[in-house]
Symmetry: C2
Subunit: 322 residues, 2 copies
Amino acid sequence: MPVTIDDVAKYAGVNKSTVSRALHGSYSISESTRKRIEQAVDELGYVGNLAAKMLASRRVNSIGVVFPPIADKANQPFFMKILTVINAKATANNVTVAIATGHSSRELKSQVRLMHLERRVDGFILLSADEEDLVRDYLQEEKVPFVVLGTPGKQSQPLNSVDNDNYQLGADAANYLIRRGHKKMVFFVDEIRGEFSRERLRGFLDVVGEDNCQVVNIFDTTFVKTDETAMVVLDDWLAISIIERLRQQSIHVPQDISVLSFNNSYLSKLIEPKLTTYSINIEQLGEEVVRVLQESIENEKIERVIVPFHLIERDSVRTITG
Amino acid sequence: MPVTIDDVAKYAGVNKSTVSRALHGSYSISESTRKRIEQAVDELGYVGNLAAKMLASRRVNSIGVVFPPIADKANQPFFMKILTVINAKATANNVTVAIATGHSSRELKSQVRLMHLERRVDGFILLSADEEDLVRDYLQEEKVPFVVLGTPGKQSQPLNSVDNDNYQLGADAANYLIRRGHKKMVFFVDEIRGEFSRERLRGFLDVVGEDNCQVVNIFDTTFVKTDETAMVVLDDWLAISIIERLRQQSIHVPQDISVLSFNNSYLSKLIEPKLTTYSINIEQLGEEVVRVLQESIENEKIERVIVPFHLIERDSVRTITG
DNA sequence: CTGAAAGCGCTTACAG
DNA sequence: CTGAAAGCGCTTACAG
């Protein structure tokens, strides 16, 4: 039989309400009884029963992390990494992480709904949101605390989000390439990724000008390089597959064309040439998203946080002189 | 205010104990009152409060999934996939999934310990176990139900596990290559992955014979191909980086050397040549692991399950004739 | 087949 | 600073 708060109280010779208070710091307890209680807890190896706490306090100390519908993207390494960071941060704050995964937005929503109705979690983190997003809309409707990671998409009311500044990221990429002497460029878009792809493209085009940039869908294999000297790809993985495609046409990177990509993933320094890529600071993204959620649970605050990025220069972009 | 079981009872004109029983199927309830209760549940939108259920029933309906210490491998796509499968299966059985991640075995153990002591979960799934494994040992010591995915490593008593037959996998790879005419081979091992790497190697060597196989550490870049015509690599990702390394020495796959790898990952059909690789049936692995855990929670049964594998033939292995 | 009661292990006003 | 009591929302013997 696990030891209960009553055992501790008896052992320390106080009432269980005193034990409860001593264990929560914020109440005034005499130094001596606190000592005795702490000792009792130690000697008995007491750990509070979660269910009882939840029931009595109406707080769960658990958050739900909602993955994107797996078909498109859930197994990119990004999601595993961010999950790890979120869990670390949550654990440090004494909250556990429950997850929701599914093949469709509908499935996800029904999981989220159940988790909410059963009061399994205090709030949710959406690891991504589509333009139309059942989960987001449900949560907003029900006034459940949540925060979306990345571009929040369509929203009826303001909501919590933690994001990179994708517009700025695009603009920065453009400026970097121009500084290295590039004039004509290709920008590969990926329709699946919606919003954040569009934002980066917008930032990029605003700097280089539409006339200097060919916009190509990543899955369009009919693309032919003309006078472009650089290309921007939304993700290291895609960059790798494009580099491979080009190699088969005897177009080499970076000699014939430079490649600038995003995410600084594991793979980006494993392949040849090592990729020049933007690091999107997953660590900070994860910490912020947990912090924002917790504050929102506490006091219904709404925040929009932008996390900075930085460029990792490696070998896939060359400087054009003259 | 959420609706409670009392509301439902009042609405249906019965006692709440009757409602509780009606909702759990296995009790005998007259058809008519069951109807009325179900209707009340629908109209009121009742969903049971989890904490109250847990406290009263002493069951949690939640399982913990423990990731490997992230440093080495947690962000391989395999883990994301298996998590998805586990979650799907668990959800179908009305149980939620909580996770534990960490940078070290010690960190992981302390998370697991807390989850257990607070009774947040009924049992655990270890996504991997090392030869020496603090988490496994703790769980075993405390008699907490758990199952390990993959080779269970050192164990003081029998424990639940769900695994591929790694020995058989190695032997199968050897037979396949021999059938395709290969005689001299290289087997790349990866010390990080310990046990399952060793098992596959053992199966492989037992078939081809030690004299016909050069065993090379994956991180040993001094490897020089001599008369070998085929190599076996533990994982698609590693295969890709080796193929790249060889290409720089103008050794091409599969013309100059064949490559056989494992996991049938996302990447394996994206690159050139498309990889011939073993599919390890993640779907089934995930379902089994949940089933075994639940049975173990129910009735303390111990099981050891082996999940079959199959080969996906693509372009990286060629047949040697003559 | 159903009701009344006790109990799961906590928290938190209320009093002093 | 501390105790006694009520209550959180369920489940489950016990009785009938």
